[in-house]
Amino acid sequence: MKYNDEDFENYLIGKMSESEKNEFENSLIASSELQNNFDNYKKLKELITNTRSIKLSEEYSSGILPRFRNELQENKKNKIYYNLGAITAAFASVIIGFVLTVNLFIKTDPDKPSDLITIIENDRDSIINSFDISDKLISKADSESFQIIDSVYNDLLSQNINVESETDDFDAFAFDIENADLEQFISEEEIDQIYAQLMEKKF
């Protein structure tokens, strides 16, 4: 018959009948494997029984609760410090943010221009300078343009062009010079003068 831990337990606590007990003991004698298995079971049971009832030292046992209470107090204190720290950090962030905003974006002292104002003033100067240059260019362009226009008309006059025969060419040329462009370079009086000369001229 094959025995298991339950049978070993029944044997040890006296739950087996007399015949079952005899049969089991005979099997133990006959099988070294069963004997070995039973011995290990007995050792384990003994070990469990002996280590189940170990008493903790009074010193350790009585210290569990006081240590817990201390830890609880520490946790409460830490929680308070943590909350205070969080509030301080939030307050400091607001202050730093405010200071940065004031220094970077708002000019507080008119005698001491900020970097941004300086940049704007520099830009303004460069724009003014560029206008000066443009004026010079325009005035220079005026005199040159007059000379070119005069030379064109003089050439036309000197060649004694028959306008009637070459109306198409003249129109094409005239249309190339836009009125708006002409007005930029010559005054109305000068235009009248040119037209008057042209009308007096006999082609």
């Binding site: 290990n40 384990l44 002996n50 189940r52 010193e59 350790y60 609760l65 817990f68 946790n75």
Partner: protein
């Protein structure tokens, strides 16, 4: 074994603001908490840390206690869960070599009887060689004398699974203990 009516009264008193009721409850169960944690972890320092952790959980969560199960089952479940979590954390620390092999000698002044201390070391060494699931069933069956139904309530595992775990555990332990003694 555990007078639930007394426990329930103490819990109610504590919820009503009586701090000494909590002390009485803990004083009643602190050794059991310690020993379950100790058998699960195999050393005093870890067990001590778990005890303090469990007390804190009980203190903070006792208001959620439903008075349906016994208080002992409730704290046993907390202790078991915390022990398993602790073991998982410990194995991670060990894997990354963050934990040194210290602590065994610190339990010298906890157990005064020398023979008991030696026997405890034998069973602790054997228990640490078992997988966690087998270990917890073995401890609950042999040390806390729980039925499979009670173990199933605490662990949430099926009774058939628990029996299989126990069968493997006891065979392995028998062999390990047989070789040690």
């Amino acid at each position: 074994m555990h007078n639930t009516d007394d426990d329930f009264k103490l819990i109610e008193n504590f919820i009503d603001g009586n701090e000494s009721a909590f002390n009485r409850l803990i004083y009643k169960y602190q050794d059991k908490i310690y020993w379950h944690a100790r058998r699960m972890t195999g050393n005093h320092l870890d067990a001590d840390e778990i005890v303090q952790e469990v007390l804190l959980v009980i203190y903070n969560k006792i208001k959620t206690f439903k008075f349906k199960s016994s208080f002992y089952t409730w704290i046993y479940t907390i202790t078991n869960t915390r022990s398993i979590n602790y073991l998982k954390k410990r194995s991670v620390k060990k894997y990354f070599s963050l934990e040194t092999a210290a602590g065994q000698e610190d339990s010298d002044n906890i157990i005064l009887n020398l023979e008991q201390k030696q026997q405890l070391q034998i069973i602790e060494r054997a228990l640490q060689k078992l997988p966690i699931k087998q270990r917890e069933v073995f401890i609950m069956r042999n040390y806390d004398e729980m039925s499979y139904e009670e173990i199933s309530e605490i662990t949430g595992r099926a009774i058939g699974t628990l029996k299989a775990n126990y069968f493997h555990a006891i065979n392995k332990i028998k062999e390990l203990v047989g070789n040690e003694i």
